[in-house]
């Protein structure tokens, strides 16, 4: 192969590596993305540099060019149009395209391999690449549909059994083929495997809870990485191998890290189950105290230091902009308003950061949990808006609770707390929250957006 091509792939590999490295630090993440993207452009360009030593029919070239052009434009448009809250869906969709690409590549190469006399190792690589690609593709589509609310969880026993059976056939069919019991051409076997893998991808994701999708997407992404690496072996292409393995390995670790941040085990996530604690679902009657909008507004108007802890409910109610208004209003009255952001508040990591950034809230008022957790007592008033699990003291004091061990925002240590939610529903983890019954805690029932609006109205009058 051409030396320049090889050097280009080397550069691409190094920039994938550097890109990933930078992307994992909050300060340099943006540069990291740029580095990785540049590496990708280099990799693509030097692939075309191969044309200097190889003649390719112009029709092929035209198709390639058009496909790349359309893909690039399409990706750009989709990425620009999507709403911030729909990010995970879109990532999932893009992952499906990557998996799809790997699958189709495998199918075409399988056809070629059928014609030529390619050796065993190559055939195995092709089959593995095809299977992983197909699983990632169909799995990601289902993950996308779940996040978009188009497909419901399905924990039907048939689904589970079906997926296990298919898993078995992944091993069985190729083995039978290779020892010669299945007398079909390799091509056909490849098609069958691709089909089975597509179905498996669907069945694999179906039982998993919708809110666990970020974890699943990360896992599927890692599988796409493996498919890429396998294809890289087929072509002896170092950039593909390295890029694929980086993503594969990083993806698996990222999946585990995500689970840990939510204090869940990957196996439980994949089984669509929640850790069952010994806590009876609605164990004790809580002595909850309700409060009213006007009372809350009054308290806010007297407070000097206020903390707002946002959670999933705020995202659902789309109340982020009102949060910003409330902050401005209170600051005009010389109060200090901090937002305390729990890393897994909401339904994707960093959800709340994105939400509040959308509402143009100043970064100096966004506090991380660890920054303020020791000084919660300094706040005169803490407003919890649509958050539940992330402020549940059971995570600290009840070893039997499924969320035990998850770091929480220590709202229970503050002087006065008002929790805004619609009713007594539980949070994502499905556990009761002792905070609601505590002396320093009052509940303000109602949709977060409505309540916020009313508080703001009242405050303007005071």
């Amino acid at each position: 192969m051409n030396v320049l091509v090889e050097v280009g792939y080397l550069l691409a590999t190094v920039s994938f590596l550097g890109g990933l490295k930078f992307m994992s630090s909050p300060k340099h993440a943006k540069i990291g993305n740029l580095i990785a993207a540049t590496g990708m452009i280099v990799a693509v360009l030097c692939t075309f540099w191969m044309l200097t030593t190889q003649t390719v029919p112009s029709i092929n070239l035209i198709i390639i060019a058009v496909a790349i052009l359309l893909g690039t434009i399409g990706g750009k448009i989709m990425a620009s149009k999507v709403e911030m809250t729909a990010m995970p869906q879109l990532v999932s969709l893009f992952n499906a395209t990557g998996g799809g690409c790997a699958m189709l590549l495998g199918i075409v190469e399988a056809k070629q391999a059928s014609l030529g006399s390619s050796f065993l190792g190559m055939q195995i690589l092709l089959l593995l690449g095809l299977i992983t690609g197909a699983v990632a593709a169909s799995g990601s589509v289902i993950a996308y549909r779940k996040l978009a609310g188009k497909t419901k969880d399905n924990r039907n026993i048939m689904v589970v059994l079906g997926s296990r059976t298919l898993l078995l056939s992944f091993i069985l069919i190729p083995v039978l083929y290779f020892i010669g019991i299945i007398p079909l051409p390799f091509e056909i076997v490849a098609y069958i495997m691709a089909f089975i893998a597509l179905v498996y991808g669907v069945l694999f994701v179906l039982p998993i809870g919708g809110a666990d999708m970020p974890v699943v997407i990360s896992l599927l992404n890692s599988i796409t990485g493996i498919a890429t690496a396998l294809a890289g072996f087929v072509y002896g292409n170092k950039a593909m191998i390295a890029g694929g393995i980086f993503v594969g390995a990083a993806g698996i670790l990222l999946t585990l890290l995500m689970c840990r941040a939510m204090n869940r085990s990957l196996l439980k996530v994949l089984a669509g189950k929640f850790k069952k604690g010994k806590v009876a679902e609605d164990a004790e009657e809580q002595n909850i105290k309700e409060t009213t909008v006007s009372e809350t507004a009054m308290q806010l108007s007297f407070a000097n230091k206020i903390a707002i802890i946002p959670g999933y409910g705020l995202a659902v109610a789309q109340g982020q902009h009102l949060c910003g208004q409330l902050q401005q209003l209170l600051e005009k009255r010389d109060a200090q308003v901090d937002f305390i952001i729990h890393p897994v508040a909401g339904r994707m990591p960093g959800h709340m950061n994105v939400l509040l950034a959308e509402a143009n809230i100043d970064y100096e008022h966004l506090k991380e949990m660890d920054q303020v957790n020791d000084d919660m007592g300094h706040y005169d008033m803490v407003l919890i808006i649509g958050a539940n699990d992330v402020v549940n003291p059971a995570a600290e004091n009840n070893p039997d609770s499924p969320i035990y061990g998850m770091p929480i925002v220590k709202a229970y240590q503050s002087k006065q707390t008002v929790v805004m939610k619609r009713g007594m529903s539980k949070g994502y983890a499905g556990v009761p929250n002792d905070l609601f019954g505590m002396d320093n805690c009052n509940l303000l029932f109602g949709d977060a957006k409505d309540s916020l609006q009313e508080i703001i109205n009242q405050l303007k009058l005071i």
Partner: protein, 98 residues
């Protein structure tokens, strides 16, 4: 054994890649999980390079294969472009404090 002998370089390569992949993101804060996932997704789009190489070899008269290959390239390009753009957009939201 012979296999190891012939592929020693690639074995080192794979082991190092795995180690680096894991090591590089071992300490990532939770808040970056979503953009990192998305960035990794974009990088795995390098599969498109494979699709292009494959297309170089397809006989120009084999229309079915050309079409399938073209779709593969298109999907790959979509993954790359969309992946990096969406990651960039997300990261723009994550501005860090000065």
């Amino acid at each position: 054994m012979e296999f190891i002998q012939n592929n020693l370089d690639i074995i080192y390569f794979v082991i190092f890649c795995i180690f680096i992949g894991i090591e590089v993101i071992a300490n990532v804060p939770a808040i970056l999980h979503t953009p990192l996932m998305s960035g990794a997704n974009a990088i795995s789009g390098v599969i498109m390079v494979g699709a292009v190489i494959m297309m170089f070899q397809v006989p120009p008269t084999n229309y079915i294969t050309l079409t399938v290959g073209g779709i593969a390239v298109f999907l790959g390009a979509l993954n790359i472009s969309g992946g990096f753009f969406v990651t960039g957009r997300m990261l723009k939201m994550f501005n860090t404090k000065k």
